[in-house]
Amino acid sequence: MFLGLSKIKRILPLALIAVLLLAISPSVFAFTNLIQRSVTIGTSIASANTTHTFSFVFPITENVGSIVFEYCTDPIDSIPCDNPPGSDVSGAVLASQAGETGFAIVSQSTNQIVLGRTPSVVGNQANTYEFTNVINPSNLGPFFIRISAYPNSDGSGPLLSFSSVAASINQTININAEVPDILYFCAAVIIPTNCSDASGDFIEFGTLTTDRTKFGASQFFVGSNAVNGYTVSTNGPTMTSGTDQITAASSPDISRIGTSQFGLNLRANSVPLIGADNVGGTGLPTANYSIINKYAYQDGGVVAASTTRSTTELYTVSYIVNVNSAQPPGVYNTTITYLCVASF
């Protein structure tokens, strides 16, 4: 039995399309098992001796003889369970129970509690189990408790229900022991090494004329151990004199002598001969400010960013200003505030 060539021709594209669709369209799903499940932690302070109260509803009406609570760094049942560092439930006590009752602790270890009883059919009401003398994990951040139900009294037999609940160790308002991330930032005309020797807070262009581009440079320095990086934006209007203003280059453009134009970039330029590329770190100038010899300015525009931890980085900003013959005379100036904010 052979497929005809014409049939192969017809089937092959369909098969390829099927494989392609399978590959490029991730299927999004939601699990349901134990219903309305939650954990309430008495205090979310790291390493605290506290209470953990579990609530859930069984989605089944079968014989349940045991419930296993397993503390893990991962919520998935098929993955081996690692105990969250510092967590200890080996001394936990079952303080109260509601809904399906008659349970007692039949075994426990550092990260596992097994509740057992004479197997009986469960209903679909809310169930609550409160444990005291539980030691919280020592690290800030999330951890998970896997909850499984079994027909036998000792945590054995086929798995009837399974779900994980998420919990987290948080920083409370009155604790200041954490070593925080630090962000160092400065902006100046010259930064020879770092912010300690930065100097200069204004640039003078001299008299603006229609036959020459006036230009200048400044620098900013960023240093941070924050893992999610940072953004640096420029804040302030273009150069103004009363109600008169020099037009800000809204998109990257070359320096155009004889037109009204104010812009900046963060590259080593040749026209005019000004600026330098950024040095050190993982950050980069953003698209509008990273084209050599093209300048732009937008109030609030992000000029540089890093998406990862960046130790120390020095950027050089080049400014150009041109005026046309119709530019009203006056003293034009602006204050540009460089704003550096860590990403979240």
Binding site: S27, C186, D201, G216, V341, S343, F344
Partner: protein, 341 residues
């Protein structure tokens, strides 16, 4: 040798002149600031708490006057970049901390020193559960007379307060997949890869009233359903999705699972898999303390085929097609001969 030194000096002076060719004048003072970029706390409704924010003057020679302002912020895009809402006509955001947060307007930091800036948060009894956040902005300006272009430096602490209670939590996964680099602009969906994948990415939409920090894991199974890779930190940098934001999360297969190394980009290594077809499953479990836990996730499929394998596979497929065609022709000819006889 002397000539070499002179040449180096000349190059240095020339380079310096090129970089700073402006007719600029320098004031010998720095506006350098050191701050804690992000702080998160949990507070109860009705609670009043005081704490302090770290602020340092990086200038070792002169004290620094810093203006402090509370500003709302939002996500600038699908990454973790924050956009401070500084417009004077900017309406207060629903999650603003402004009404509850008190900070000094101005502080002076001695030369080369750091201070703790006190702040007070007073939450009303009837405040709703959820996350409230604003930025504490610090601005250091030295210039008193505006020149052509006056330069100022500003930075901020992003302050998050979680108020426990009956919060509304709803996150949905928009997409998920593995990628070749950790660029947030990368697309995560691809069918074939000739290199072992190293980085993963997914987007989550937060429709609740809590700034969520998703946690979960990723499992990669081969075509037979066997787990070959398990990454138990789907959010290794502890990134946050703000209220109303759709955010891209990126991470990688970690070379070391030591907590201090997990957030580092240098801690990435390609997954150890053989050529073949794979299914990756992302599972996120979330839920505030005492609130219902929910699971969300997504799957993605991909082929890992090194170039050599791909070429061999194409040759095999071509040979199979040619073979089928040859057999078909032979059978057709055979039938034709039989009919003819």
């Amino acid at each position: 040798m002397k000539n070499l030194y002179l040449k180096l000096l000349a190059v240095f002076v020339l380079g310096f002149a090129v970089v700073f060719a402006a007719h600029s004048q320098a004031h010998a003072q720095s506006n350098g600031l050191g701050v804690a970029p992000k702080q998160s706390y949990t507070m109860q409704a009705g609670q009043t708490a005081t704490n302090s924010l770290y602020l340092s003057n990086l200038d070792k020679n002169a004290p620094l006057t810093v203006h402090i302002n509370v500003v709302d912020f939002e996500a600038a895009d699908q990454t973790g970049a924050a956009r401070l809402l500084q417009g004077s006509d900017q309406p207060q955001t629903p999650w603003s901390l402004k009404p509850y947060l008190t900070v000094p307007d101005v502080v002076t930091v001695p030369a080369g020193a750091s201070i703790q800036v006190p702040f007070t948060i007073k939450l009303p009894d009837n405040i709703g559960a959820g996350t409230y956040y604003s930025a504490v902005e610090y601005t250091a300006t030295r210039g008193t007379n505006p020149q052509d272009v006056t330069i100022a430096a500003s930075t901020a602490t992003l302050l998050f307060i979680n108020v426990p209670g009956n919060v509304s939590e709803l996150m949905t996964v928009q997409d998920f997949g593995f990628t070749k680099n950790n660029n947030p602009a990368s697309h995560y969906k691809y069918l074939f890869t000739s290199n072992k994948p190293e980085y993963f990415g997914y987007r989550i939409k937060n429709s609740g009233n809590v700034a969520e920090q998703p946690a979960g894991s990723i499992v990669i199974k081969n075509i037979f359903g066997k787990t070959v890779v398990h990454i138990n930190t789907a959010n290794p940098k502890g990134q946050i999705v703000l209220i109303g934001q759709t955010r891209k999360f990126t991470g990688c297969n970690p070379a070391s699972t030591a907590p201090e190394k997990l957030p580092l980009d240098s801690n990435c290594t390609p997954v150890n898999i053989s050529p073949g077809f794979y299914t990756a499953t992302l599972t996120i479990v979330y839920g505030q303390n005492g609130q219902p836990s929910r699971d969300i996730g997504a799957t993605a499929h991909f082929w890992y085929l090194p170039l050599g394998w791909l070429i061999a596979l194409i040759i095999i497929i071509v040979l199979i097609i040619v073979g089928i065609y040859w057999l078909y022709r032979k059978m057709s000819r055979h039938r034709h001969h039989r009919r003819h006889r």
